[in-house]
């Protein structure tokens, strides 16, 4: 372990991103320390997903600086491989590989990328399935699982690479209400284990329980940030108040 608690794992400085003429990110700056859980929320189209995807370079930022675990993200291809080994990502649509079993989904990257032995990868995969509480589904195909189970497999798959950072891009938005809890439980457990997490989500209960900091995005900018207490009880900006009142109303 090179970095101790309190060291910044992710540093973003004035990050910009354009899609054609559309200015999707208009100068995002953020610092995430080791072991910190950060929740990003905001209306759709506010750039929160785009931003989280720049952290593992699924999207390329065009201006500004992003440093992940001491490695700056730029066009150098070797960096990308290194970064992607350090960051796990969980998607809204799960994106499991439908032609592989749950077990194979989890074992693929450790064997192919980390060059682990099959036995080692298998042991680790089983351990992770226990952790997300679906060991009995190991030999099924993703299509045979419920949404909540699939998302937990996706989390296990990301964890199998033993990442230092976990990125969650709206992990519960595609789930039925009763399945949201099982996924959030896994995420809460993960947060308590000391994982550095960046979560794009509107699950305010989860944010209140585990987040150290919250960021409110709108139109490609950070409108407001603060601890959950500050955000929920003393929001400074009108835009934040309006948005919170809308999502907390029901």
């Amino acid at each position: 372990m090179t970095s101790s608690n309190g060291d910044p794992m992710i540093i973003a400085q004035d990050v910009h991103k354009w899609y054609g003429n559309f200015h999707a990110l208009r100068g995002i700056s953020m610092e995430v320390k080791k072991g910190e859980v950060v929740v990003i929320f905001g209306p759709s189209g506010s750039g929160k997903s785009t931003f989280i995807r720049t952290i593992n370079r699924l999207e390329h930022h065009e201006k500004g600086k992003i440093v992940v675990d001491g490695i700056e993200l730029n066009a150098d291809m070797h960096n990308i491989e290194a970064i992607r080994m350090e960051t796990g990502m969980v998607f809204q649509q799960f994106n499991l590989f439908p032609h592989l079993t749950v077990m194979q989904n989890i074992m693929l990257a450790p064997i192919q990328v980390r060059k682990k032995s099959k036995a080692e990868a298998q042991e680790k995969a089983m351990e992770l399935l226990e952790r997300v509480e679906i060991p009995e589904q190991a030999l099924k195909y993703p299509g045979q699982l419920s949404g909540g189970q699939q998302q937990r497999v996706a989390i296990a798959r990301a964890l199998a690479m033993e990442p230092k950072i976990m990125l969650f891009d709206e992990p519960t938005s595609a789930l039925d209400p009763e399945m949201i809890k099982e996924v959030l439980d896994v995420m809460t457990e993960l947060a308590k284990s000391g994982m550095t997490m960046v979560v794009v989500s509107h699950e305010m209960g989860f944010a209140r329980a585990v987040a150290q900091r919250m960021y409110f995005f709108d139109e490609g900018l950070i409108v407001e940030s603060g601890s959950p207490d500050e955000i929920f009880h003393a929001p400074q900006e009108d835009r934040t108040k309006l948005f919170l009142s809308q999502i907390l109303k029901h």
Binding site: T87, P98, R114, M161
Partner: protein, 427 residues
């Protein structure tokens, strides 16, 4: 709500009585007066057609031409004892015995679960068993049909026996032999080529049992099948490579792929076969020349690859972007993503189209008759022209149609089996 739930618990699914044959007829053929009318009409129509066809087949047709020319139709001019040469057809038979053994081994090793699709793949060449079997029937001189029938039975028995031994070995070692079976399959294809082709001294000298038999002597069903199998085996990797090339970010590779695919697809196969047979040797440095069969194999392979590329591209396009992203996010490189994630899904999606194309390829091999190769159709043309058997076009063409149908159907069946077996869990 609670009452309805508890009510559901008590209800059993209706016990469905198995419909009798009479029920089936009533439901499907005579359910209404209109259906009755249609049924009667269809039956009459079938009767009229069949009466003519069967009447011809059993009374007028001169089937004698088939046993007399069977050797030609099956293996062409391949050297055999009947033609007064050293017999080499046994090498073709050997291929079949090996095939039977591998199928048996694989079937036994895989047990009952899974892996059946590879076995289904193997069903196609099993039909090749007809070659030596019927061959021996055909080469017996007139008046020895009983002996021939006995030999035929013996051959089938021997093939079955070899298959059984393979099955027992596979059964004995179990799933550990699956890998061995897979290796044997991969080795089998070059082995067939080597066995049929032979090596070393020319066959006429008859010195070694594996003397080389020049490709111009290959013919009949043997040639048709070899053209098709070579075409399928080689066009598959080329086609996949072209499909990936067409989606490549590198401009030169993409341009070359597009030009190749569009050129080949814009020209009829017959023209390409002519180009191959007349012009290819002009382009080659002096001293190097391919014989007709190899040239036809090259042309068929390259032709099929272009079409295959477009099919595979269609499959690649239906893979959602999320799959690429997920693969990148767990750290897989470009090649690994293609190999482990994208291609398996894309190829599975295009199995029906691809098999359709392979069936087309198999039937298209009959076009090589135009450039003078004696494939099944080419030989049939020669047989029809034989003055001893004038007027036997219908018999001969019907007979070879049966072969084309049998193999095309086997491919189609294989495709369906592969789909069912791979379909598990994708829903």
């Amino acid at each position: 709500m609670t009452t309805s739930v508890s009510m559901h618990k008590g209800i059993q699914p209706p016990t469905s009585a198995r419909p009798t044959a009479l029920d089936w007829i009533k439901i499907n053929l005579f359910s209404s007066w209109l259906n009755t009318l249609l049924t009667l009409f269809s039956v009459t129509l079938i009767y009229v057609i069949l009466r003519g066809a069967l009447g011809w087949a059993f009374t007028e047709a001169n089937w004698a031409v088939i046993p007399a020319k069977l050797r030609l139709l099956l293996v062409g001019q391949y050297p055999s004892a009947v033609a007064g040469e050293v017999d080499y057809v046994w090498r073709v038979s050997l291929c079949l015995y090996i095939l039977a053994a591998i199928i048996g081994l694989h079937w036994g090793a895989s047990g009952r679960s899974g892996e059946r699709y590879i076995t289904a793949l193997a069903l196609l060449p099993v039909l090749m068993a007809l070659i030596p079997v019927v061959y021996h029937l055909a080469v017996r001189p007139e008046g020895h049909t009983l002996g021939a029938a006995f030999l035929l039975a013996l051959q089938i028995l021997a093939l079955d026996l070899v298959g059984l031994v393979g099955w027992l070995i596979g059964r004995w070692r179990g799933r550990r032999f699956i890998r061995l079976a897979a290796i044997l399959w991969i080795l089998y294809f070059p082995l067939v080529i080597v066995l049929v082709r032979g090596f070393g001294a020319d066959y006429r000298e008859g010195i070694t049992p594996f003397a080389s038999v020049p490709t111009r002597l290959w013919g009949g069903l043997l040639l048709s099948l070899l053209l098709a199998i070579v075409g399928i085996v080689f066009s598959f990797p080329i086609g996949v490579a072209l499909a990936l090339g067409r989606r490549s970010k590198l401009v030169v590779i993409r341009a070359l792929s597009v030009i190749y695919i569009e050129f080949i697809r814009g020209v009829p196969l017959i023209s390409l076969l002519f180009i191959g047979s007349l012009m290819l040797n002009l382009f080659m440095p002096s001293g190097i020349s391919f014989d007709g069969v190899v040239r036809a194999m090259v042309v068929i392979t390259l032709f099929s690859a272009a079409y295959l590329a477009e099919n595979v591209r269609g499959g690649l396009q239906c893979i959602p972007k999320g799959q690429y992203e997920a693969a990148s996010a767990i750290g897989l490189g470009g090649f690994q993503t293609m190999f482990f994630i994208i291609l398996p899904q894309a190829l599975r999606a295009v199995i029906p189209v691809m098999m359709g194309q392979f069936i087309g390829l198999f039937k298209d091999t009959s076009l090589v008759a135009i450039v003078g190769l004696l494939d099944l159709l080419g030989i049939a043309g020669g047989v029809i022209a034989d003055p001893n058997y004038l007027g036997t076009q219908r018999e001969v063409l019907l007979f070879i149609s049966l072969f084309y149908f049998a193999f095309s159907y086997a491919l189609s069946y294989t495709s369906r089996r592969i789909e069912t077996n791979l379909g598990v869990g994708t829903r």
